[in-house]
Structures are given as C-alpha cells and as structure tokens.
Subunit: 99 residues, 2 copies
C-alpha cells in the first residue's frame, strides 16, 4: 500500500482553472489499476491550499500514473496555476490502524 499527499498552493486567480483541469484527470485516474483513492480536497483555513489524497495498492501501481496522458494534460495546466512547486509525500506504511 502507498499513501500519497500531494499538496498544491494555487494562485488565487487560477484556482478555478486548476479545479476544472483536475476533473478529467481524477476521473481517469480512478480507473487506473491499483488506484484505491484519488480525491482532491481544499483546506478550510486556506482555500488556496489543495491536497490530493491518494491510496495505491503499491508503488508499482502508481508508476504509470505520472506518464499517463491525463496526468500530463493536467500537469501542463497546473504548471501555470501554482504559486510554487507542489509538495508530494509518498508514505510507505509500516502499520495502518483504523478506528
């Protein structure tokens, strides 16, 4: 299992552009083999902090995602919308407890 937190700081005037571009990417990603969760969230204390929460069966399942057409298309748009480089955290769990 692999948990991913992709934290994006978007330029306020580019937020809608980014959200629109994310929709087809999310739809296509959810169909990728091994994709268990891929959902975009926004912080409630800072509307320009967006976070993709992702869960993949394995790092190998995530591998093709970055090279996919839908991710490349989203990346092209996102590049002009972000206020800085994204912070992407790949968390390989030793243990996951669910309560």
């Amino acid at each position: 299992m692999l948990y991913v937190r992709a934290i994006l700081n978007v330029k306020p005037d580019q937020r809608e552009t980014l959200l629109e571009a994310a929709k087809p990417c999310i739809e296509a990603t959810l169909k990728e083999p091994g994709c268990l969760e891929y959902e975009l969230h926004t912080s409630l204390s800072d509307p320009n902090r967006l976070v993709f929460l992702e869960v993949w069966e394995s790092a190998e399942h995530l591998e093709p995602h970055g090279k996919s057409d839908h991710m490349k298309a989203f990346g092209k748009v996102a590049a002009g919308c972000l206020a800085g480089p994204p912070r992407i955290e790949y968390i390989t769990p030793a243990k996951v407890d669910v309560k």
Copy 2:
C-alpha cells in the same frame, strides 16, 4: 512520526455547526506538543466529506490529544453532526519520500 487521516461524513444541514466547533479545537491542537500538522479539509467532489490531516512527532505525542478539553468539547458537537462513525487512519510510516 505518525500520519493521521480522520475522515468525517457530515450531515449536510450540520456542516456549518461542525466547522464552527472545529475552529477552537484546531487552534488549541496546533499548540499541543508534537503536533506538526492539524488541518481540516473538505473534498471537492463531496462537500460533506471532511478530512482532518494530521502529523504528529510520535504516537505518544498524540496520546493526550484525545483526552484534551478542546477535543472533548469538539467531540460532543461532532457526535450530533456526523452521518456515520468517523474513519480514523493512523499511519506509522516505514518510509516517507518527499518530491
């Protein structure tokens, strides 16, 4: 390090009540020793899916949080706002890569 994803499904008509109750809890929690991140997010595909993203220095640092006055006060309000039991994931990482 401990990553926490607390996923809450809120009743639509109780969303504002929950968000208001969360504010003092978030403010107090960010002052707790070992709390590195504690931020409330909302899904962009489902506004009634709320997710606390938390990072703690260790599980031991998280321990007092659940018994804190501010968490108890929030819990009392949240109990009447949720559409079902929260799903709380405690992720102990074997490895974290940041790109």
